[in-house]
């Protein structure tokens, strides 16, 4: 059915995709290779910079001793809890602001201040108030993500086409119907994209919390490792953190696809 030109075009596109994957892989391999080589040849000090083989042996070692899975689990748990709470509360507050315009207008300057404030600066106070516990870490992480969530979601809500709202009103719908039939469904995409940002922000908040609370988790490993010059720990934790962040992001993408199928 397809013409020769179409066939060639498809083939070209396909080849291009393969080449890009090859380049991507090459970057990774050469990075690891040069790192390993430089450490072995003593161009860089492996004690400070570690090396891929040292990271792998540390990884296997800590995995066998059992503590590593625990640290990863704790960080993952804290991230998921603060992400869920932060997103849920953020959306809830955005709904309240949309519902009571007066409240939204009153709180606007405070939201702007809170949004501009580097939330990580709040972490030490939160720890003093709530103690050296997981609770503090989760609170820190929520404080990082919640304001952005509120502002993004509320902005999306307020951008909904007034004619669509009028349509609901022509059927006798009140505020509740407007919210559930138009405002929220029209913001599916917006809410998902806010969540994509949130998962990263929650991870940042959790790591900062773990730096300060310093009892367990990947953040603790990084801080503790750097203090006792176990740079292998630090490098390994960073790599695991990168993988963790990517996996979490991919999970949100998966949810997005599911929602698109259901919600259109």
């Amino acid at each position: 059915m397809t013409s020769q030109a179409q066939h060639d075009f498809m083939k070209h596109q396909h080849q291009q995709k393969i080449w890009i994957s090859i380049y991507q892989l090459l970057i990774l391999i050469s990075f690891l290779g040069i790192w390993e080589l430089a450490a072995n040849m003593k161009w860089i000090d492996p004690f400070i910079f570690s090396s891929p083989t040292r990271v792998v042996t540390t990884f296997v070692d800590m995995l066998l001793k059992g503590s590593l899975l625990n640290h990863i689990g704790i960080t993952l748990y804290e991230t998921l809890v603060s992400f869920t709470l932060g997103s849920f509360l953020g959306i809830l507050i955005a709904i309240i602001l949309w519902w009571c315009e007066k409240v939204a207008k009153t709180l606007e300057p405070y939201l702007i201040v809170l949004n501009s404030l580097p939330k990580t600066a709040l972490a030490p106070i939160i720890i003093v108030w709530l103690g050296n516990t997981t609770k503090s870490i989760i609170f820190t992480a929520i404080s990082v993500s919640i304001i952005v969530t509120i502002i993004n979601v509320y902005y999306g809500f307020s951008q909904v086409d007034v004619e669509k709202i009028k349509l609901i009103r022509t059927f006798g719908g009140q505020k509740g119907a407007i919210l559930s039939k138009v405002v929220i469904p029209a913001n599916y995409a917006n809410i998902i994209s806010t969540m994509k940002v949130n998962i990263g922000l929650s991870l940042i908040g959790v790591i900062i919390g773990e730096f300060l609370v310093a009892r367990a988790g990947l953040g603790y490993l990084i801080v503790y490792g750097s203090q006792i010059f176990k740079l292998d720990w630090v490098m390994m934790s960073l790599i695991i953190l990168g993988i963790l962040a990517t996996v979490l992001y991919e999970v949100i993408l998966l949810i997005e696809k599911k929602v698109q199928k259901i919600g259109g």
Binding site: K164, K166, I168, T170, F171, G173, A177, K181, V182, A186
Partner: protein, 300 residues
């Protein structure tokens, strides 16, 4: 003698018959017109608008949008309202539908002739506003959902409408997969689902290209007539107004008030908007209304 008598009789007979016939015709005309006048005077007015005014308030000041408008709509009538853009036509519909409260005057809906007391008025907006996150079928049910009347019989009625107006096979489609004309039909069925007595149409064809527009106008008109609805169409397109209406009301610039009203009688049989456009008195109506809109003094 007998012959004369005979001839006399033969003359008298037809005379009496003729006289009787004459009286009969006169009489029946009299009765006919009496009944007609009586009927016209007592046509049930579905909607009665009296001295309606509306004032907009903004920080820049207040604007009189609608000034002292009075007219009536009787059951089964199709009325078009034409006026310059931005004269307050849409505001008028919002007032009638109850989305806005009048600043002065009254809007009376005759409850006694309504078939649907709760949702007497159906409102069609300029765009179809079909929700992309819903299928065609879910879009059609939106009104029933909001009004909390998603009963089996109402759903059956919707199914019937979808079947009748050739949308049954597209129930599971997304709105973006339909043509402009089909989308408009879906929007109309969404409005009809609540069985309103009066339909308010706010330039429902303005978002369509000309070709589609003519077809959709025919479509809508047929559906509205078939379902026996009363309709009030707002438009700035004179030809469109005449082609669909029994009566055209011309509004002035802001503040809108009624400049003139034309009763449209066309000779075309089985009237449809497209056939109406070909009627020989169409252009005469067009010119009269055009003059009214443009403040050109009448030459006749």
């Amino acid at each position: 003698m007998s012959v004369k008598l005979n001839s006399c009789y033969s003359l008298k007979g037809p005379m009496i018959v003729l006289a009787l016939l004459f009286i009969h015709v006169l009489w029946s005309h009299l009765i006919y017109y009496t009944i007609l006048i009586y009927a016209v005077m007592n046509m049930p007015n579905l909607l009665n608008i009296q001295q309606l005014s509306y004032v907009y308030h903004t920080m820049q000041g207040e604007t009189l949008a609608i000034k002292d408008i009075s007219f009536t709509v009787s059951k089964g009538q199709f009325i078009s309202i034409v006026g310059p853009s931005g004269c307050g036509k849409s505001t008028l519909l919002s007032l009638i539908s109850g989305l806005l409260a009048p600043s002065a005057g009254q809007i009376v809906i005759d409850q006694s002739i309504l078939e649907n007391l709760k949702y007497a008025i159906g409102y069609m907006l300029q765009k179809d506003h079909l929700f992309e996150w819903r299928s065609v079928y879910e879009n059609v049910l939106l009104g029933l959902e909001i009004a909390h009347v998603k009963t089996p019989e109402n759903i059956a009625y919707v199914e019937e409408l979808l079947e009748k107006y050739e949308l049954k096979d597209f129930k599971k489609y997304r709105p973006s997969q339909l043509s402009g004309g089909m989308r408009q039909r879906v929007a109309l069925i969404r409005t009809l689902a609540l069985k309103p007595d009066l339909l308010l149409l706010d330039e429902p064809f303005s978002a369509l290209d000309y070709q589609t527009r003519l077809n959709v106008a025919d479509d809508m008109y047929n559906i509205i007539k078939k379902e026996g609805k009363t309709a009030l169409l707002v438009t700035h397109d004179i030809a469109e107004a005449i082609s669909m209406a029994d009566e055209v009301i011309v509004l002035s610039k802001r503040p809108a008030n009624i400049k003139a009203s034309f009763s449209i009688t066309l000779e075309t049989e089985d009237r449809t908007p497209l056939k109406s456009r070909a009627d020989h008195s169409f252009s005469s109506y067009f010119n009269q209304i055009w003059r009214e809109l443009n403040d050109v003094p009448s030459t006749t």
